[in-house]
Each structure stands twice: as structure tokens, then as C-alpha cells.
């Protein structure tokens, strides 16, 4: 979230509560109830690392800390904007588990695959239910559509793994 916070503060700066509001407005119900503590500790870290500078001002009811970007913060933000986020992941939690657990002979691969297929189908159901509900913003909707595509790809991959396992069994 560090870079996202830098981006949100890049204009006129702001304080923690404003960041929380901006995020909630964009992602709506997709965002879990944001813990104010998480926001303030992220801001504190950014300040410690010299990327933002905070100043305490008197608010309506209590003091609040207003943050803005330092020069180092602006270059960090520029680097983040310029670089594409990493592409293909060569890391998959399920696959690592499958390989380690089955090569140690601790479980049948098919049992793991079936449990995982159920989980992917269930997440697809959860996501589609969310899409069917009204009143989402465009950003939230696209985010969910993306997750749907990933879930479908994960299911296809499971099929592929299962097919290869079956072929391997037939060979032996």
C-alpha cells in the first residue's frame, strides 16, 4: 500500500482519514473495514523512510497530522509509475503444496486437486454473486472481473495437472 499512499498524497497532500475515504470511495464494499491503525502505521513508516513529511495541525475537534511528499517520495512514486508491475508469476501456493505433500507421500494428489477445485469454484461463485449485486463502481467491477478470469485459469490449470497425472499413472 506504500506506493498507493504516495500516489494519493501526491496532489495536495492530506491526512490519514482522507486516504481512508478515497480508498473506500474507489473500491466500495470490496475494501474490508479499514483499520485506522494500519493507515497510520503505513504513514508513519513512509515518514520514517523520508518519503513523506508530516505536520501536526489543529483540526475541528482534535489535532491531526497532514502529510505531503518529499523529493525522495516524488522520485519513489515516479519509479513506481514508470515500471510495469511484475508479469507472470512462477509461484503458486497450491502447486508448491501439491508437489511437496505428494512427493513426501503424505496425501493423494487427487484429493488435494479436488479440494482445490472446490475452493476455486466457490470463489468464482462468490465473485459472480458480487458482480450480480448492484451499485459497484467501475474500478471495483473490473477488479472482480479480473479475479474471475484468474479463477477460471486456475481451474484450467488444475485440469491440466490432473490430466498429466493420469497420463503418468497410465505409463507406469
Amino acid at each position: 500500500m506504500r506506493d498507493h499512499f504516495l500516489a494519493l498524497l501526491a496532489g495536495e497532500g492530506g491526512y490519514g482519514y482522507e486516504l481512508k475515504q478515497a480508498l473506500e470511495q474507489t473500491f466500495g464494499e470490496l475494501l474490508p473495514a479499514l483499520n485506522a491503525g494500519q493507515i497510520y502505521s503505513t504513514l508513519a513508516r513512509l515518514e520514517r523512510d523520508g518519503l513523506v513529511v508530516g505536520e501536526s495541525v489543529e483540526g475541528d475537534s482534535r489535532r491531526k497530522r497532514v502529510y505531503e511528499l518529499t523529493d525522495a517520495g516524488r522520485s519513489a512514486l515516479a519509479r513506481w509509475i514508470e515500471a510495469p508491475v511484475p508479469g507472470t508469476r512462477l509461484k503458486d501456493e497450491f502447486f508448491m503444496k501439491l508437489v511437496v505433500v505428494t512427493s513426501a507421500g503424505l496425501a493423494e494428489p487427487r484429493a488435494l486437486i479436488e479440494a482445490q477445485r472446490r475452493e476455486y469454484l466457490q470463489s468464482l461463485r462468490d465473485l459472480d454473486a458480487l458482480l450480480a449485486a448492484n451499485g459497484k463502481g467501475v474500478a471495483a467491477e473490473l477488479l472482480v472481473e479480473g479475479a474471475v478470469l484468474h479463477a477460471k485459469a486456475d481451474l484450467e490449470w488444475l485440469d491440466l495437472i490432473e490430466q498429466r497425472l493420469t497420463l503418468a499413472e497410465e505409463d507406469t
Binding site: 473500491f27 475494501l31 474490508p32 503505513t42 472446490r118 461463485r125 462468490d126
Partner: protein, 243 residues
């Protein structure tokens, strides 16, 4: 309890010029009233064969099929046709609407065939078409509609005789993703209104909308899973502690 549709030890062997192909090798399956069941599986796993046997469109080599508790696998063609008209609605991948009939006439057809009067058939067809969002296309020929609209009409036709079960064969297989999503929403809505659905599909999204997903592999049920009502979804929020 009586299942809407039930298969026991269902097997089907095709004789393809000397070589026997085991399309189904003993499938047990039971569909409860009000349930949405999806059948998945790779090509050649026996999905279509199973659907044809369940619908009484083909006869099993072994095993039995019961519709509302009564065996249908030994009925005559005429009896089967009558039963299908009254108790089963069909939705196909390529819609299978009658091209030289209007949208309205397509939906009226099963009602008239099952003995409903003209007036009553028209009233029900009109109502169903508007329920499915194609009420304004009544007079149009099916070919002039988009795929999604044609599938809406096909679903109206399938529901016309308030069948005990609707069978779907890749109902989103020939639709772009937006139309597929609309058809999926209609299937889900039919399920909400207490309809019983059994759908053969490649589309994981359709399967994920079902209450139960059965996977076939090499003519056998290889996996069966029940899904829960949708759970809430939330973005993971990275904790500030992480590097």
C-alpha cells in the same frame, strides 16, 4: 424421497464399426427438486451421452433412468415424446429455435402441443418473454436476434410448460462473455424461483452458479462437490508490517 431425475448404474456402449466405445461406465446421479446441478468434464468424458440418456433422447445399454420416480428408459418413443413435452424443458448451445416461426410462436408452440388453448398459450408466452427481457421482440424472427436474446427466447420456451426440470446443454457455449453472463443470471433467477436445473457445461462460471458440480471423466463420476451460498469477498489489505 422421490428425486426429480435419477440415474442408477447408467452405462452406454456405442458400436462404431466393430470397435466398442464405452461412453458411460456406470453413473449414479440424483437431482433433488429445486436443485441446480452442473455437470462438467473434458470432451469425450460422457457428458453429452449422459444428458441424452437423462432426457430420454437415447437409451442406456445398462442401468435405469427415473423421472419423478417412474422409469423412462423402457418407454416407447411416443410415450417419451409426451413425457418430455410435459416434464422437461431444454436449452441448447445453438438455441434450436424454429426459424420460420416468430419469437412468440416459438414459445407458444410447446404450450399448444401440450393441449393449452390459443388464448392461454398466448398469454403465458407473452408473460414469459417479458419476464426474460425479450417482451419487445415477440413479432421478430429468431435469426434477427443476438445470441443472448435467442437464448432468452429458448429459456422462455423451456419454461413454458412449467416443467419439473430444465436440462441445459452448454447454454452459454455459443455466447460472448457479456451475453453468457446475462444467461447465467437468468438461470440463477430460475433457480431462485424454485426451478430445478441440470446443466452440462464447459463454462466454470456456469458451474460455479450451481449448488452441486459433478465432474465426469472417462464415463465415470470422478468428482462431486457441493458449493455454499456465496461468501463475502474483500480485497486483502496489506499490513504495514510487511516489507
Amino acid at each position: 424421497m422421490t428425486y426429480v431425475l435419477e440415474a442408477r448404474g447408467l452405462a452406454k456402449t456405442y458400436d462404431t464399426g466393430g470397435a466398442e466405445v464405452l461412453a458411460l461406465r456406470g453413473v449414479d446421479l440424483a437431482v433433488e427438486r429445486g436443485e441446480f446441478l452442473a455437470i462438467m468434464g473434458p470432451s469425450g468424458s460422457g457428458k453429452s451421452t449422459l444428458l441424452n440418456l437423462l432426457a430420454g433422447l437415447d437409451r442406456p445399454t445398462a442401468g435405469e433412468v427415473r423421472l419423478d420416480g417412474d422409469r423412462i428408459d423402457r418407454l416407447s418413443e411416443t410415450e417419451l415424446a409426451r413425457l418430455r413435452r410435459r416434464k422437461i424443458g431444454f436449452v441448447f448451445q445453438f438455441f434450436n429455435l424454429v426459424p420460420n416461426l416468430s419469437v412468440l410462436e416459438n414459445v407458444e408452440l410447446p404450450l399448444l402441443l401440450s393441449g393449452r388453448g390459443r388464448k392461454q398459450a398466448r398469454a403465458s408466452a407473452v408473460e414469459l418473454l417479458s419476464e426474460l427481457g425479450v417482451g419487445d421482440k415477440r413479432a421478430v424472427a429468431p435469426a434477427l436476434l443476438s445470441g443472448g436474446q435467442q437464448q432468452r427466447v429458448a429459456l422462455a420456451r423451456a419454461l413454458a410448460n412449467t416443467p419439473g426440470i430444465v436440462l441445459g446443454d452448454e447454454p452459454t457455449g455459443n455466447l460472448d462473455s457479456a451475453a453468457a453472463r446475462e444467461v447465467l443470471a437468468l438461470l440463477r433467477a430460475a433457480r431462485e424461483r424454485g426451478r430445478t436445473l441440470l446443466v452440462v457445461t464447459h463454462d466454470a462460471r456456469v458451474a460455479a452458479a450451481a449448488d452441486r458440480v459433478v465432474t465426469l471423466r472417462d464415463g465415470l463420476v470422478s468428482d462431486e462437490t457441493e458449493l455454499e451460498p456465496a461468501r463475502p469477498v474483500a480485497l486483502p489489505f496489506e499490513s504495514a508490517e510487511r516489507p
